[in-house]
Symmetry: C3
């Protein structure tokens, strides 16, 4: 393979640099306004392609490129396109569909026996603090945190009047666990036949992380919003690491049973750690996440496996290079 085709999105810098450093080429594609950033950095010698239709991916395939699935790819190209394009995909191609669908994702997490927040099937069941989520999340704004079924009903009424939703059942009602959010990053390596822990982040969200800097008298009726604006490094207690690794392993096993041959490469478990020191898994991402950018300078967790710090982007490139050298590309690209 010649190189990686990377959507001009949340982790394109570390992906491009990582593949370039491992001797591949990097082709970044996307709408013109998103491409500008990638001309800014002299060390980032990637080809830039304006994306207008999927034929670009066919041309890149013909040139020997493979596609890196990211949040941007899935959102911009749609999951169904990612599933059917001709270009080889790094990782488990069909996982994108599972990740995009609340029912499939919940089935996967349940199969993995993840400790999860309770899910409420109807508004009237709500008997504690919950977070109501709109489908697609509307960029992080489609959330309501409350204890009140009435408030959820009024919120939905408003959303229907604004045509933001059509059916009440589209919303996802999840128990809101109070604790510290910790997003755990993993890399499942077919070549090394092991799961690597690549790091952890905390999301820095607008305006929930702005609210916390106001005294209650100034908050008034401002509500929690969860639009991700950035990420922070966090170093969990060492006694939590084994627990995080075991959660990751259970997720890997579940994908092997439900979507063989199972997850390949990076994924993320989004957790809240309670006062009992138990990580509760409220979300799952089957691909590289933006939170890995907190290791733009290299993750010290990856150094525990490789003796040197590297980004998750570099780790992915290393996997492809090892797969090529060992004639095992089919285990990494699907």
């Amino acid at each position: 393979m010649r190189g990686a085709a990377i959507y001009a999105g949340h982790s394109a810098i570390q992906l491009s640099l990582g593949f370039l450093e491992e001797g591949f080429e990097a082709a970044i594609f996307g709408p013109p306004e998103r491409l500008k950033l990638y001309e800014r950095f002299p060390t980032l010698k990637a080809r830039l392609h304006q994306y207008s239709d999927p034929s670009l991916l066919d041309s890149l395939a013909d040139e020997g490129y493979f596609l890196i699935p990211t949040g941007g790819v899935v959102e911009y190209l749609t999951p169904s396109l990612v599933e059917r394009v001709r270009i080889p995909v790094f990782g488990l191609r069909h996982l994108v569909r599972w990740e995009a669908d609340w029912s499939l994702k919940t089935r996967l997490l349940e199969e993995a026996r993840m400790p999860m927040p309770r899910r409420f099937r109807s508004i009237s069941e709500v008997d504690r603090l919950v977070i109501a989520k709109l489908p697609g999340a509307k960029g992080g704004r489609g959330y309501l945190v409350t204890r009140s079924p009435e408030e959820i009903k009024n919120w939905l009424k408003n959303l229907r009047e604004q045509n933001l939703i059509t059916r009440e059942d589209d919303i996802f009602l999840q128990e809101y666990i109070v604790g510290t959010t910790i997003y755990a990053h993993y890399f499942q390596s077919p070549i090394m036949d092991r799961l690597e822990l690549t790091g952890f982040d905390i999301r820095y969200e607008s305006n929930v992380d702005g609210l916390r800097r106001l005294s209650p008298r100034n908050i008034g009726d401002l509500k929690e919003g969860f639009v991700v604006t950035g990420n922070l490094q966090v170093y969990p207690r060492e006694r939590l690491l084994e627990e995080f690794i075991e959660l990751g392993e259970k997720l890997v096993e579940a994908t092997r049973r439900l979507i063989p041959p199972g997850v390949i490469g990076p994924f993320c478990l989004e957790t809240v750690v309670t006062e009992d020191l138990k990580p509760i898994v409220f979300e799952f991402s089957g691909r590289i996440v933006a939170g890995t950018n907190v290791y733009l300078g290299g993750s010290p967790y990856l150094a525990l496996y490789w003796g040197r710090e590297m980004t998750v982007g570099r780790r992915m490139a290393l996997e492809v290079r090892m797969a090529m050298e060992q004639g095992r590309l089919g285990e990494v690209l699907t």
Copy 2:
């Protein structure tokens, strides 16, 4: 030039080490109690000078030193002194006056067409959450966050009674934008003819970041204070980077028009990122800021330009060295 004269203040460690590493000398000056710290570290081989009057700067000029403007220099030596001392100054010397004066600074930000919080010219206009700021900020304590014009009036009455202010018009009334604070660091390089993004921080402030760890019942009538006690690293979403770079470029252009030849070296835009993912600029610093200390071990953003991590202090030293080698010192020192 022989070396850098550095005030014993907020970024003297990275500045001294950076200039030493690039082959210059470092002379740290300040009151005796502030100098002690710089004898603590064996790798920091700087000369230390007690500062009693500006003649020290003349002697240092005679020895071939240039002055690094920092927050401490401006505060301790006064902006007007920085403008008229004989010693060469790294960067745009006259920017210190613009930064020290709310009217000039606002004019600059407006010239740059920065997205800014609304400014209120009188207390009676206040119709939303605002932050009232005293001139000079009184070390971060001279702030009030409120929705109530009455509360501002009472606060001012108290301040007048304590002789902390003389005229009501001295206060600066700015809309308080709720969102995540992100402080973006830049380096405008005359030698490379480009703007480099050097990193981002979040301020860790007392007691606003203490309040957030109290439940509302315990906060009582405690008010938000904004005394900076430290800084944290933050990694903004990749899609925000282009927006931050463009804001920086607009600022550079505005300084070129209003204060030719325009800003040189490090500066900072202090922003709040809203739920619409728009950075709103509420402040500007035309010099190295303390927040760059989060990269005491080197900024991974600077590695995108230079292939290796470095501090902003080191980046400044590199600019002077390149300027000397190319006979272009006049573009860096003014």
Copy 3:
């Protein structure tokens, strides 16, 4: 000496790697479920020992190992065992008793003339915001933050009914200082005869750091909990560094007077920095703390002394190696 005996706890990764990198062996011991983690990382080539009784420590002593005191060692083996085991201990062995006892610890901090929160001897004295702490802290859950003596009495009544405490006087009542928490890490080196500042962290606690992401209407009657789930890097203002160093020096001097020859190696001062920029010391740990894990990739503060980043674990190993080379082991192991 052959190597370090390390409890399978909060900083075993950096300790094992640090000693291995300095040419020692590493033996990790603990209950079987805690050992699993240390087989996960290929770079961590430590021997693993199931711990069933103290005879293991005698065998390790016979093989030339010394013991690293950590929070886990003290909690799991008890302070009195650490004081009397035959195996040499890195650092000041008898400090573990002082750290485990509120009265001794308070005596030490008072001897050091640390700026401290006011301590209340009885509930009826409480006239401001306080934090009530149970002995042993019950994993971080045994805390109450309140202004109300009545609330403390009811809380104690409940605890007595649950047999969690026996006597009211067991609780520790401390003024709750509002400000930014900063945990300062130190290394007192007998070999270099100096105190090194090794870094700073902030604790990430459940659920106090979860509460802050809820609007007041959603917090309801949720109370602050202080179970540590992780740590974050923080870079204090440079003007605070000298103050932190001087606090550390005063602590070193006090231990020299009360527990000769005084503290050896890593320790931590847990502080709150107020709006007056004064660090108030509310706790002390006489050993390596979990917060040093934020420098899993190496502390840039240690680079100020050694010219390269390293972990506190590596710093400890370096001290033992230098002590051996100079025939001064008795100054480091006790």
